[in-house]
Symmetry: C2
Subunit: 185 residues, 2 copies
């Protein structure tokens, strides 16, 4: 019996493939093991538990989101950076809804996730730099941005908008609404 050559990173890769195909609820160790061509208990050589796998998946997704969003705002600033960030986030979620669902909402409360969460947070804060916000005001603005983007995007990804009106238009209005809430420079 030749060795499968798994690593923790490969198990996470496999988990991503599983949720992309079957949704977050389809994430079972049995599904991951089967796709990796291995018996279920063998996964325990690489991840401690299903809970830990979910955490690693969350880290991976946060890092991927940070990379995507950071790339989208490079070379822009001010209102166009805000718009670019929001649009990039929405595109990511539409392309990979299950991955977004796997991202923890409270990464800062878990030491293992805090670094990845801080990375994404910093990108949000960086985009709002230049509006002359004091420390506390910048935090509130970041929260508003996150609430608006997360609210729309999670509803859209879950089929939450039942009526036929154009969703691009709604999101555009949200972007403008948020930008209007920022101080004019």
């Amino acid at each position: 019996m030749p060795r499968a050559g798994l690593t923790t990173a490969l198990v996470v890769d496999t988990a991503i493939a599983v949720i992309d195909e079957q949704g977050l609820d389809g994430l079972t160790l049995a599904a991951v093991a089967s796709r990796a061509g291995v018996a279920t208990p063998s996964l325990y050589k690489h991840v401690g538990s299903l809970t830990e796998l979910r955490k690693l998946l969350g880290i991976r997704v946060l890092e991927e989101m940070t990379a995507v969003v950071t790339a989208a705002v490079l070379g822009t600033s001010g209102d166009s950076a805000v718009a670019a960030l929001m649009r990039a986030l929405r595109e990511y979620v539409l392309a990979h809804p299950a991955r977004y669902a796997a991202a923890p909402l409270d990464p800062l409360h878990d030491p293992a996730l805090a670094a990845a969460g801080t990375g994404l947070l910093n990108t949000f804060l960086a985009v709002l730099r230049g509006y002359g916000l004091a420390d506390s005001a910048a935090i509130h603005a970041t929260r508003r941005l996150r609430a608006v983007a997360h609210g729309f995007v999670s509803l859209e990804a879950n089929g939450g908008f039942g009526l036929p009106e154009d969703l691009d238009e709604t999101y555009q209005q949200l972007i403008e609404m948020f930008i209007a809430s920022l101080p004019r420079g």
Copy 2:
């Protein structure tokens, strides 16, 4: 052996008690049965499956939210109605986070949930009546309202705001931001 006297509604009541205590993930038929003082298979006399119980729970929560939110906006209109609706929703979610998590995001896509979802939707629409929005604009405004409120409230309920800044202040800013996006009359 005396009869327990269960009904479908009582099973849903019990399910609510279970998630209030153990969170949405703690909702198992075993937990519901144990709390109802009954063996697990007995529940099948009243609900068809765990999936159906989740649906009934979703309906119950949507109805409860509709009642709470409707009561909060009675006798108000315009900006103060919007603010009252948003504050009432937040209070409900903070008081019963697991119930809110049990509410489906896409009720309109399931015939069994559509009526309950429409009820809540109508309250949102009613609050925005009086701003002189055309049909389509009213839909977009309702979506903005829902996205803002759901975004903040789901993040807050899940511990998503890690920093010590005052959350009441952030929410107040969101209310003002949304109101500012409505046409002045």
